[in-house]
């Protein structure tokens, strides 16, 4: 009896989580344009996407920002995670508090606060402002992912290296980095996903000349359901799926 309740509860929630996504993907292959009636299988919406230059441009823009922002965030965030776990310095606690507050703070507050900062600094909104914003919201995720891994290590390894005459950079580069590499890669993939999917913050900090995919999707979706959008959203979902699964295996590996 109890077992039965558990199984049905789990099934119901998984159905709730996945039925909409599966429906979205199924309908991206539906011939019919306006109805939800199944009119046969087709790839035409995907092919039509390839012919839409505006969409391709915004997809390319999104990929560029996501790639550059995630790499910068990973470099800075990895250093940050190393620094907070290995050194004591003034403001370390405040720094940690700020990192957590970035993860917690509602996207909209971050969006408008960065918008005001960029305007006051006299920066034109576009690629640069988007990049700075994306690095900022990705940073804490990299730092937390990497920090979790660094904490698991024996600090004696570092002491031993230091006794043997390794410098601080050498310790980081030759000892710590190889050990935490899976976590670094996971942090990078997660940042990439975050950046690729972000709507709210990007909404405020990008300009009209630099359009990115999620915002393009947002404006298309506001005008109604279209099979091209189904196809586009399905592609983005599969990208996320691939990135997240890989990241997951990279962080879980050590438990074996």
């Amino acid at each position: 009896m109890k077992r039965w309740v558990g199984i049905s509860w789990l099934t119901a929630v998984y159905a709730f989580l996945y039925i909409p996504l599966v429906t979205l993907m199924v309908y991206s292959f539906n011939q019919a344009r306006f109805t939800t009636v199944w009119k046969g299988f087709t790839f035409k919406w995907y092919i039509r996407l390839m012919g839409n230059q505006q969409l391709l441009d915004s997809f390319f823009n999104s990929l560029t920002v996501a790639l550059v922002a995630s790499v910068i965030a990973t470099v800075i965030g990895t250093l940050g995670a190393f620094v907070v776990s290995h050194y004591r310095f003034a403001g370390r606690k405040i720094f940690f508090g700020l990192i957590y507050s970035v993860m917690m703070s509602p996207d909209i507050v971050m969006g408008i606060s960065l918008l005001m900062l960029f305007v006051l600094m006299g920066m034109e909104t576009g690629f640069m402002t988007l990049l700075l914003a994306h690095v900022t919201f990705c940073l804490p995720f990299v730092m937390v992912t990497v920090h979790a891994r660094i904490r698991g290590f024996d600090s004696m390894v570092v002491d031993a290296a230091r006794d043997l005459g390794a410098g601080e950079f050498q310790i980081f580069y030759r000892i710590i980095l190889p050990m935490i590499l899976p976590a670094v890669l996971a942090g990078w993939l997660l940042s990439f996903t975050l950046s690729l999917d972000d709507v709210i913050i990007s909404f405020f900090v990008t300009g009209p000349e630099f359009e990115i995919l999620p915002l393009k999707i947002y404006s298309m979706v506001r005008l109604g359901v279209k099979p091209e959008v189904n196809a586009l959203c399905s592609i983005l979902f599969l990208l996320t799926l691939a990135a997240v699964t890989t990241a997951h295996f990279l962080t879980k590996e050590r438990e074996k």
């Binding site: 979205l24 939800t36 310095f89 507050v109 606060s113 709507v199 709210i200 996320t240």
Partner: protein
């Protein structure tokens, strides 16, 4: 030695500088501007005022806030009601199947909530899947309007945020020592007592973390009422967005954002306080 110091100092400086410039400064700007007079040309004037905060309590504006808070409380309670049993059952699943099942919660956690919201539109629109199904099954004569109602907004918020409730809950429930439950049963506790006096208190950190992770974003997700709600469905996020993009009223929008910041700070403070007491009582 110099080179050593150089690496360490650069690493610290870059991180501190980035967070200082792009987190601390922007938030200070929000707070400062919320206390300044509005200006049609330069967004604000250097004249102190608290009028924007008073304006937030104007009945029309206050209604948006109370409405949004209702949505957030409702969403938090609903995700908790659905997510708690789910996380509990998931933590009792056999070791072999659990990784895949957990992964199936993590994927929606990271998937763009915009895409997931759009997927709901396909299901709920007038000639959408749910309506076709209802008509085919003879449960409804014509299309039922689900989309563009308050219910649709709740569904959208719960759908988007449910994984944010499940994951912290699962994290604490998974670590729960099953010997404690056996001990409680051996000592004669009923199922309800085991839950109320053992499981629930021990999972409190997860309940709080999950609630924060649902409550805070639920006030800002402006595209959910935009895509699913009616004309009157508005979150604090929609309100702030309108102040910045439609009215160009930076100070008023900032004052509304300070409200969100205050909610965030107080929730985190409560969390830290409870955690402190919790750690003291659990690990003496």
């Amino acid at each position: 030695m110099n080179e050593n110091k150089g690496f360490k100092n650069t690493a610290i400086t870059v991180n501190m500088l980035w967070i200082f410039l792009f987190v601390l400064v922007p938030n200070l700007i929000v707070v400062v501007i919320s206390f300044l007079e509005r200006d049609p040309v330069g967004f604000f004037r250097w004249e102190p005022t608290i009028s924007h905060y008073i304006n937030l309590f104007d009945p029309v504006n206050a209604r948006v806030f109370t409405h949004s808070l209702t949505y957030s409380f409702g969403t938090t309670l609903l995700t908790l009601a659905v997510g708690y049993p789910f996380a509990w059952f998931l933590s009792r699943v056999g070791r072999r199947r659990r990784p895949l099942m957990l992964m199936m919660v993590i994927v929606p956690f990271w998937t763009s909530s915009l895409i997931r919201t759009y997927a709901l539109v396909i299901l709920m629109k007038a000639n959408g899947v749910i309506n076709s199904l209802l008509v085919t099954l003879g449960l409804a004569k014509g299309p039922v309007s689900i989309l563009y109602t308050d219910v649709a907004v709740y569904v959208g918020l719960v759908y988007s945020l449910l994984p944010f409730m499940i994951l912290p809950l699962y994290a604490v429930l998974e670590k729960l020592d099953s010997r404690l439950l056996e001990a409680a049963c051996d000592l004669g506790a009923t199922h309800l007592q085991v839950f109320a006096r053992v499981v629930l208190p021990l999972s409190l950190p997860g309940v709080m973390a999950g609630s924060i992770m649902v409550f805070l974003p639920s006030m800002g997700l402006f595209y959910i009422p935009d895509l699913l709600g009616g004309a009157k469905s508005m979150l604090v996020g929609n309100f702030i967005k309108n102040q910045f993009l439609t009215s160009g009223n930076w100070p008023f929008g900032s004052a509304a954002s300070v409200f969100l910041i205050l909610v965030m700070v107080s929730m985190m403070a409560v969390y830290l306080l409870v955690m402190k007491r919790f750690n003291r009582s659990v690990m003496p």
